[in-house]
């Protein structure tokens, strides 16, 4: 077994550890962002990890100045931005949400998930991103604005509209399901 790793391998190992630790959370975010499209979600996570890998090595080469303060948070940001730019590149229709990942949980959770995704899928990509950042990742309006390269005001407006839309779509089903 290799005892002392050389610098490159150490960075590599460090990245692998980071990626292994983050992939689950990234996937869940991607899953919501895409409105339940597991294939696209997987694609986005891979893209995000790829970008992080590249940054990881770049920052190591160029010294501490480039070191990312909070790589976990930054990866989430990269994910959302990748998602939105992906949407811009291919503004095609939603892909069907046929394939769900290996889902544990009882029927209540499954129904909740379906209901939630049904509604989310009817929002615009950017609206979904705002809701995912605010209510899944629990980011502040300011943080959300930074991720989206937008202003706090714009985020507030969009967030409010998206919530209204979602509430209209879901009716009372969300609170009923959440209460199960």
């Amino acid at each position: 077994m290799i005892r002392s790793s050389n610098a490159r391998e150490a960075r590599e190992a460090e990245f692998l550890e980071f990626a292994a630790g983050r992939q689950g959370q990234l996937f869940r975010s991607a899953y919501f962002l895409t409105g339940g499209d597991t294939h696209l979600a997987e694609d986005l996570v891979q893209e995000t990890l790829g970008r992080m890998y590249s940054l990881w090595h770049r920052m190591s080469w160029q010294g501490r100045a480039r070191r990312i303060e909070n790589p976990a948070g930054y990866a989430q940001t990269v994910l959302v931005r990748s998602f939105l730019s992906h949407r811009r590149r291919r503004s095609n229709a939603e892909r069907p949400t046929a394939a769900f990942p290996d889902l544990a949980g009882d029927d209540g959770d499954a129904t909740l998930r379906l209901t939630l995704f049904d509604a989310l899928a009817q929002l615009s990509a950017r609206d979904r991103a705002v809701l995912v950042l605010r209510y899944w990742e629990d980011r502040s309006v300011e943080e959300t604005a930074e991720v989206l390269r937008s202003s706090a005001g714009a985020v507030r407006t969009r967030s409010s509209r998206a919530l209204t839309r979602l509430r209209a779509l879901l009716g009372s089903s969300l609170s009923e399901l959440a209460a199960l």
């Binding site: 050389n6 391998e9 190992a13 292994a20 689950g24 997987e42 890998y53 998930r113 509430r167």
Partner: protein, 432 residues
Amino acid sequence: MSNDPQSDPEFEDDLAQAFARAAAGVRTEAEPLLSGGLTRGRARRRRRTTAVVGSITALALVGAGGAFVAGLRAPVATSNVLSQGDVQKSAPPHLDKSVNVLLIGLDSRKDMNGDDLPPQVVQDELHAGGSSDIGGYNADTLIVLHIPADGGKVTALSVPRDDYVQTVGADGRMHKIKEAYAIAKEAAEHKLAGQGLSKAALEQQSRDAGRSATIQTVQDFLDIPIDHFAELNLLGFYDIAKAVGPIQVCLNHAVSDPIAARTAGREGGGTGLELPAGISSLNASQALSFVRQRHNLVNGDLDRTHRQQAFLASVGHKLTQDGLFGDLGKMQSLLGMVKKDVVLDDRWNLLDFAQQAPGLTGDNVEFNTLPISGFKTIDGEGVNTVDPDLIKKIVQQLFTDTPASSTPQAGQAAALPMQGPPVKTGGIPCVN
């Protein structure tokens, strides 16, 4: 929360809860996500940085400059694979106190010619670093350094990478000798998977299996014990060639190896190397091409082996000329470049080794290449056929340390049927 008049904190809470519950059941499979991410990351990085391609031969710097490593005691990655039962058990006995060092140049690509694989695959496989999701770890350079007990002339012996031999410690079958590493590594990876190892640990342990199989196979093929090994990863070459500075090499003939694009019906190839006959001075990327080229050469891959030897001899010569071996500061800065790319066995006391092998630092090394019997196509792959008994006999004669006075015929190796003429250090040897 929002100050929007229409805000509905209760709905916001419900939404947050719904997200949490919907997420709770989502289990991911890490492997495809990670390997896909690495694949893209490496492709990305490759685009960003100089495309580093080529064989790893500069590992022999460790040998050629074995001594200089010693005084520095720099932390170098080590592996305990030589202390493990398999390698020791299968090692033929030592007939004297000589030392054999195996230099393993690892090229992660299945094919030496990067152009004939899809770019993304090449980019991925190029990276010999710590990942286990990539197959095809080929030991493209295998050089045995034989250091006699009496401090006499050091002999370096290249084993052509396509020699078709009985592997040991891999799957027990016949393969190209370069493939033992990858076969054993992959098998180990399968075995270790699911043991909850970290990705890095899995990589390290499975690579140790690759090392073990490579060492055992060489021991068996040549019938000699391997006492130490050094493994250099792919990306190291460029760094080293850069650190050493322009290297002079000598060609017997002018060479033109244009880059041929890969098309649907034809393999790509070529390194883009254009050099006149005679002595040329190479920068790092030319150096890479010099040791990589295998097309547009009379003897193809075998000429490439000689290129590698000649390059190493030239590097050794330059380092000697530059007075590196007497200059601690220079050694240290060069070592800084080398050590991050190299893995040594953990039994190797380099201080002792340096004293034991003064011949390594001087212009006193002769490179030979084991002969092949012919070419054959097996399972669609071109291999070198070899005569194992003949190989063992040759190695035994070559490595039998006769005191300089006892036999009149000094040039022992010259009398042995080697693949091409020997390449000698102490100058700039000319090759094809």
